[in-house]
């Protein structure tokens, strides 16, 4: 099932909840709060950052739990992955060998293109799972795709004029 599928009897309740929460967001700040809540409560990831790609800056716009000194621009991440994300592809890399996580948490690199009118305007990066979350499955990917499809307008179109 795609993230954009109609709400059905068998839909993952997380998708239904996330879609409803995003659509009920009242302004840009509330959309960012919705993203934070969805990523931490429904996906189990505790480090997120939103980077702009407008005018090629790649600067960090907003974050939660992330090391902002280390990751203040997209330049700190894998260039090939970012190239694909700019084309609108989701990039998920789970690194499961020892020593690459923080405090035993499963390390992760998820790059989510935030799209407006078929153009990537920002990248949402997720870096670390909660200790009890052991990996990403297909249902998690559907939830991430929903974030890619449904947050761009609220965050970056002209009507989203309230500062976060």
């Amino acid at each position: 099932m795609t993230a954009g599928a109609a709400i059905g009897k068998f839909e993952d309740p997380r998708l239904e909840t996330a879609r409803k929460r995003l659509r009920e967001s009242v302004d840009r700040a509330d959309t960012l709060e919705a993203i934070r809540e969805i990523v931490t409560n429904l996906l189990g990831c505790e480090e997120i950052g939103l980077f702009t790609v407008e005018r090629g800056s790649g600067g960090l716009l907003w974050s939660f739990g992330i090391d902002t000194q280390r990751h203040h621009t997209l330049d700190s991440f894998d260039e090939c992955a970012l190239h694909r994300v700019m084309q609108g592809e989701l990039h998920v890399a789970q690194v499961d060998h020892e020593g690459h996580g923080h405090h035993g948490n499963p390390p992760l690199r998820i790059f989510v293109p935030i799209r407006v009118h078929n153009r990537t305007v920002a990248v949402l990066v997720m870096l670390k799972l909660l200790p009890q979350k052991l990996g990403f499955d297909k249902a998690d990917i559907n939830l991430v795709k929903l974030l890619s499809d449904e947050t761009g307008g609220a965050l970056f179109e002209k009507s989203a004029n309230t500062n976060a």
């Binding site: 309740p13 909840t17 996330a18 929460r21 809540e37 969805i38 931490t40 409560n41 189990g44 909660l130």
Partner: protein, 124 residues
């Protein structure tokens, strides 16, 4: 038969929506909500829930403090309390039980596991 009542406590709108969605689809339990520990204590006294499902990290009064408070009040001291939080570290789990919770679950919540646990306290 009167539906069993659950008090859902979380400062995250998304978490409350998720818990409500699971319970409304899979059970006949009635849900009431509070957005922090302070409101939870007040709502529990007013609403007399059959169970409290509560987050830990919240503003004003966190889940541990609220749990202790609920255990001190005569009208809520016997009500089962399940903590549901992102914090899965052993120290948090131990603190939860020391504050008087009956069970401790971590997020992201598994709907089936949640319903099974709540049924063990409340029945169908």
């Amino acid at each position: 038969m009167t539906a069993k009542k659950i008090l859902l406590v979380d400062d995250s709108k998304t978490a409350l929506m998720m818990e409500r969605a699971i319970l409304e689809k899979r059970t006949r339990y009635q849900c009431v909500t509070a957005s922090d520990g302070l409101e939870a204590v007040s709502k529990a006294s007013e609403e007399h829930p059959d169970l409290v499902l509560m987050d830990v990290v919240m503003p004003r009064m966190n889940g541990f403090e609220a749990c202790k408070k609920l255990r001190q009040l005569p009208e809520t001291r016997e009500v089962p309390i399940v903590l549901l939080t992102t914090r899965g570290e052993e120290t948090y789990v131990e603190a939860g039980f020391q504050c008087g919770c009956n069970d401790y679950l971590t997020k992201p919540v598994d709907g089936e596991e949640l319903v099974k646990l709540l049924r063990s306290y409340l029945g169908e």
